[in-house]
């Protein structure tokens, strides 16, 4: 059964193990799962952005055919409001209570006010429409700058302010840096609100029976979900099982503990019936957390010859109405890397968190780091124009010296490894800026934009992020268990919870190499708290750098035991046992050896094991990284802008990314492609737009413009491979890299195109209308 193979799998672009079930329509996402006796749920949501709830009349809904129960916020006797788990350290954060169903006041459109439970998915929606709610509207706050003015209307009256918190991270002498500067550029950089917009909507199936709760949810974090379900409902954690089934994309939007999860669990316990809820897209736009939404004031100072002396950023973060799991910390993640790839002696980020009558912002692909990169990279282009210097020359002049790694930045963050000039050199092997400029079609404005970036990911060293560090109320290690069955088949349990990343394949490649087997022989299990060890989920580009490293370490423990068994059976020294040709054999005698299947046989039928050795062949590892990892790269974007319509065409997009040694090059490229388009979406098309009354204008995919295949080009990708010293695999994350890099490359390209017509700066979204308006304004 156990294959013997000499091949090495790491580094090979093998086809994914996940795909057969997905391409045949045989996967099981949340809406594909039902249980006998299941009821359906629908939420009644506020049409008001801010209002006092005067009354809720549920009588007509209760009488609607098939309805089993109607609950309001006052019925839900939960132990606590929804959780906010990560607070920037050393500051006071105002945290208004956020209940799964609003109790007295609603604070954004879509705030749930009642939960209707009925017998089928259609009639329960009809019944929800029968719930009559009387609202007393209150003043609405939608603009972060206006929200901070004296006398502004308040989102939460009892807080007396819309300011949630202030937090700063800086290093170096900012004043001296600006004093040394010959040139200072100042800009207002807007990073508008966007949606994660996973194509699978969220959904929950809560099944409480005989004292135990099983909750299946389209989530990135089943283990957190189990913990918070236990705390919210007052159930012992051992009696809660959370399952992430096949999950149809997350992008951070499913890194959350949502009110619908808690409310359904509560109602399932109350009614002792399984209950299912599937989000509609319009509900998702209202009540699945958003991302970005920062207004930043940036100042960058430099000497006349192009040495950056100081960088200061003040960010107003639109938090929305409530703090959810990580809400107040998102801009802080950007502050960690506000130096970008540059050696800047003084850097400071000041963050002000502001409440508005909108849904919460939280982690969306990149989470704070796309915003930071955008600020740095757009500002450095502005600085180059101010200095009359080539944009790439200015970047090169300030790149951190490749010889200086590990490199501690001004704010005290240590970058693990990098070679930023190397990535840019590689980019220019594929790309001749002058030839591109010369090839502009008649009537079009051609522009080129660059983004040279790094990011901080591989969340995360617990000593940095934990309670005594950065305030996260947990560690951020990851776990893995590797079980070799008696047949030599291997099951790997990971605490990560992949939802498209392909970890079942990459982890199998790593394990196969270490055990001398094939990836086909290695099954990776994830997303179920009822199997395997405790884990922490998939986000922050952590699943390879932290999750796969823990898999590698658990496998190493299996290998240690395997070698001791082989040494004992072959009467050789343990140190002489090595893996060659798919067999663990004695050095110099490759013919004499045992496959992992034969070793497993010996381990489970323990007739001839070393003295005192336990039978079996499975091991557990908990890996807590010493540092984050810092992927980097260089991107170039070529656009043609039609000055008559303001339309932007992306003509070419070339990207060089470095996430350390590739485990599966296909999967890395796929992550980069998707990441780039996510950021192109923000730069050109997507915007979560609330009007001044707090009404969501972009409430469906009709109005929220996700990029389609027709809107984007094919990409030209290359890689450099600079290993990280942080983990044994040398790997860095790649899930967010494309998104972190690309919005600045696109924006810089559009501004480059528009300079000849007098537009020297503009903010996203770079929609045709906004570009056309900017051109008209420049003309007049």
């Amino acid at each position: 059964m156990s294959a013997t193979v000499a091949e090495r799998w790491v580094g090979k672009p093998i086809k994914r193990k996940e795909d057969p079930r997905l391409i045949m329509g045989r996967a099981r996402y949340i809406d594909d799962i039902s249980v006998t006796g299941q009821l359906w749920a629908a939420f009644v949501r506020s049409p008001e952005a801010h209002a006092r709830i005067v009354s809720i009349d549920t009588s007509a809904a209760r009488e609607y055919p098939g309805v089993q129960a109607v609950f309001t916020g006052k019925d839900l006797d939960l132990e606590a409001p929804l959780p906010m788990a990560w607070v920037p350290p050393g500051v006071e954060v105002k945290n208004p209570p956020h209940w799964a169903i609003a109790k007295d006041e609603v604070h954004h459109v879509g705030d749930p006010v009642a939960l209707v439970i009925g017998s089928d998915r259609y009639s329960v929606v009809d019944a929800a429409a029968q719930v009559v709610v009387e609202y007393d509207p209150l003043p609405v706050v939608t603009d972060v700058e206006a929200a901070l003015e004296d006398g502004a209307d308040l989102v939460h009256q009892d807080l007396g302010t819309n300011k949630c918190h202030e937090w700063s991270l800086g290093g170096g002498d900012l004043e001296a840096g600006f004093a040394q500067a010959d040139v200072i550029v100042e800009r207002r950089v807007v990073n508008h609100r966007t949606a994660g917009a996973a194509i699978e909507p969220r959904g929950v199936l809560a099944d409480y029976r005989a004292g135990s709760l099983t909750l299946t949810s389209s989530t990135q974090v089943p283990h957190f979900l189990r913990l918070f379900l236990a705390l919210q409902l007052g159930i012992s954690e051992d009696r809660v099982r959370a399952i992430a089934p096949e999950v149809g994309g997350g992008f951070g939007s499913k890194l959350q503990i949502y009110g619908e999860e808690i409310a359904l669990a509560w109602a399932s316990r109350k009614l002792e019936r399984p209950i299912k809820w599937i989000e509609t897209r319009s509900e998702g736009m209202l009540a699945t957390h958003h991302g970005r939404d920062q207004v930043a004031y940036v100042r960058m100072g430099a000497t006349r010859d192009g040495k950056i002396t100081a960088f200061h950023v003040k960010i107003l973060q639109d938090l929305g109405a409530y703090l959810m799991l990580l809400t107040p910390t998102i801009p802080s993640l950007g502050a960690f890397v506000m130096s970008g790839v540059y050696d800047i002696p003084a850097v400071q980020t000041d963050i002000v968190g502001v409440f508005t009558n909108k849904f919460a912002t939280d982690a969306i692909r990149g989470a704070g780091r796309p915003e930071a990169t955008h600020m740095i990279e757009v500002t450095i282009d502005q600085l180059a124009a101010e200095l009359g210097m080539d944009r790439l020359e200015l970047r090169r002049k300030n790149f951190i010296d490749p010889a200086s790694f590990p490199h501690e930045t001004a704010v005290g963050v240590t970058y693990d490894s990098g070679n930023y000039p190397g990535a840019l050199d590689k980019l220019l092997e594929h790309f001749d800026p002058e030839a591109e400029k010369a090839a502009a079609p008649p009537g079009k404005l051609r522009g080129i934009g660059y983004s040279t970036y790094t990011e901080i990911c591989g969340l995360a060293p617990s000593r940095v992020t934990g309670p005594s560090g950065f305030g996260l109320q947990t560690g951020l290690w990851e776990s893995a268990m590797v079980r070799v069955h008696i047949t030599g088949a291997v099951t790997v349990y990971t605490g990560t919870s992949p939802h498209g990343q392909g970890l079942e394949t990459t982890m199998a490649q790593i394990v196969a190499d270490k055990l001398g087997t094939t990836p086909d022989n290695v099954e990776v299990i994830h997303g179920d708290t009822g199997t395997g060890p405790q884990g922490l989920g998939t986000y922050g580009s952590r699943s390879t750098a932290v999750g796969a490293e823990s898999v590698a370490r658990a496998t190493d423990k299996v290998v240690d035991k395997a070698r001791r068994i082989v040494a004992h059976q072959l009467e050789a020294a343990v140190d002489d046992i090595e893996l060659t040709g798919g067999k663990f054999s004695v050095k110099g005698s490759p013919d004499k050896g045992m496959t992992i299947g034969e070793i497993a046989g010996a381990a489970y039928i323990p007739e001839n094991l070393p003295e005192g050795m336990e039978p079996g062949l499975e091991e557990l590892s908990f890996y807590d990284p010493e540092n984050f990892v810092f992927p980097f790269g260089a991107h170039a974007c070529v656009v043609d802008v039609d000055p008559e319509t303001g339309n932007v065409d992306i003509v070419r997009y070339v990207a060089v990314d470095d996430c350390g040694p590739a485990i599966n090059p296909n999967l890395i490229d796929g992550q980069v492609h998707g990441g780039i388009v996510h950021a192109i979406g923000q730069a050109l098309f997507e915007r979560i737009h609330y009007d001044e009354d707090g009404q969501l204008i972009t409430g469906t995919f009709v109005d929220y413009a996700l990029p389609s295949a027709a809107d984007v080009p094919s990409f030209e990708l290359d890689r450099t491979e600079t290993p990280s010293p942080v983990n044994s695999l040398g790997v860095k994350g790649v899930g967010e890299a494309g998104t972190i890099a690309a919005s600045a490359a696109v924006t810089n390209a559009v501004i480059d195109a528009l300079r000849p017509v007098g537009v020297n700066y503009m903010n996203m979204p770079l929609s045709p209308m906004r570009i056309w308006e900017a051109i008209q304004e420049a003309k007049s």
Binding site: K15, G25, Y122, I199, F701, S708, S714
Partner: protein, 155 residues
């Protein structure tokens, strides 16, 4: 909602018949009445195309049709495209070229691509991109989807 209608259709070559609510969407008939959950719902507004199936040989968005409107029709879903060991060339190509990540949009993408290749067996890259403009993917950036469809057209 009062009343019901009898609908009959051939789904993946099998005759199916059921008494359903007149307002039942075709996608829910396929998923819930027949248990064919490979067809997905992503948006409710005909934008995302996750629900794409073939009706009488043409791609349609099954979230925007009533089951009753498909009465008498021939329907093909992703489950009718290929099985283990006998995959459709598009399924093979999506697998080979890493044309999927989370897989949620994939059945709709494959059905829309099959419709394109029936009409235009050798499409250009731009024609593939235009033909798939009604199918949204958040994971892949479309690069490998386009590559997969072009490869399937070659095969």
């Amino acid at each position: 909602m009062a009343g019901s209608v009898r609908v009959s259709m051939t789904v993946n070559g099998t005759q199916q018949s059921a008494e359903v609510e007149p307002r039942l969407l075709l996608v829910h008939f396929l998923r819930e009445t027949l248990g064919l959950t490979g067809t997905h719902v992503g948006c409710d507004t005909s934008n995302c195309g996750a629900c794409t199936v073939h009706l009488n040989g043409e791609a349609v968005k099954s979230c925007t049709l009533l089951a009753a409107q498909a009465d008498g029709a021939e329907i093909k879903t992703i489950e009718g495209m290929g099985q283990e060991g006998a995959l459709h060339p598009l399924q093979e190509a999506f697998w080979e070229h890493h044309g999927l990540q989370c897989g949620y949009c994939t059945p709709g993408m494959i059905m829309a691509s099959a419709d394109l290749l029936q009409r235009n067996p050798k499409p250009s890259e731009q024609e593939v991109r235009e033909a798939l403009a009604g199918n949204l993917c958040r994971c892949t950036g479309y690069h490998n989807i386009v590559k997969a469809v072009m490869a399937a057209a070659e095969s």
